[in-house]
């Protein structure tokens, strides 16, 4: 069964510092990986996705992630965070037979950016 593990439930960081949110997946088939962000009392918004090609994926708001097949990881990074990046971040893998695209999510990582 496919699964996603986010290794840190909370990540506190000071403003303008770099951050890495870790995500590992298990899958026996080709993977499509996503990072979503959820701001308080809002739905999920796509940050970036890996489908194929270059393993370094750039997303919105200065975030990027690197797909590493040998380590089955898809860590999210930002070189300098802002207060406004405080939110919950979810890593997800697209599963399903044929063309069904249901997502399996990790447990989420709360990013707390401190001034």
């Amino acid at each position: 069964a496919q699964s996603v593990t986010q290794l840190d439930s909370q990540v506190p960081v000071f403003e303008e510092a770099p951050v890495e949110l870790r995500c590992n997946y298990s899958s026996s088939v080709s993977v499509y990986l996503f990072w979503y962000v959820q701001y308080p009392n809002q739905g999920l918004q796509l940050l970036l996705k890996y489908l194929s090609g270059s393993t370094l994926v750039k997303g919105i708001n200065g975030f990027e992630a690197e797909f590493n097949k040998s380590q089955t990881s898809f860590h999210l990074r930002k070189p300098s965070v802002h207060i406004s990046d405080t939110a919950e971040y979810f890593c997800a893998v697209s599963v399903g037979e044929g063309n069904t695209g249901k997502l399996i999510f990790g447990q989420g990582t709360t990013l707390q950016v401190k001034p």
Binding site: Y32, F34, Y36, N41, Q42, G43, L44, Q45, L46, K49, L51, F90, A92, S94, V95, G96, N99, T100, G101, K102, L103, I104, F105, G106, Q107, G108
Partner: protein
């Protein structure tokens, strides 16, 4: 254009009552998904629609849960005889097509509290 909308935004009900949650997807989106977000279980897939049919209902937790979609647009998730463990945020998402490659666009969710 308009995003995914859900109603009501909040719902408080008594144990044993039935509730209906509504999702209006982005116009023209073929696929529609329901997920549940709860403190203990994280984000879980419930059901997926392709047009008006539901090829994957594997995430529905019990036969008290059902969903339908009409006209290839609006979807309703119904929970009968609600239990306290049904308390959660119910999220709806839609995507242009049914492929695993597609981005899912999420609504703001309905927060359900069962007393």
């Amino acid at each position: 254009g308009a995003g995914v909308s859900q109603s009501p935004s909040n719902k408080v009900t008594e144990k044993g009552k039935d509730v209906e949650l509504r999702c209006d997807p982005i116009s023209g989106h073929t696929a529609l998904y329901w997920y549940r977000q709860s403190l203990g279980q994280g984000l879980e897939f419930l059901i997926y629609f392709q047009g008006n049919s539901a090829p994957d209902k594997s995430g529905l937790p019990s036969d008290r849960f059902s969903a339908e979609r009409t006209g290839g647009s609006v979807s309703t998730l119904t929970i009968q005889r609600t239990q306290q463990e049904d308390s959660a945020v119910y999220l709806c998402a839609s995507s242009p097509g049914t492929s695993r490659l597609e981005t899912q666009y999420f609504g703001p969710g309905t927060r359900l509290l069962v007393l």
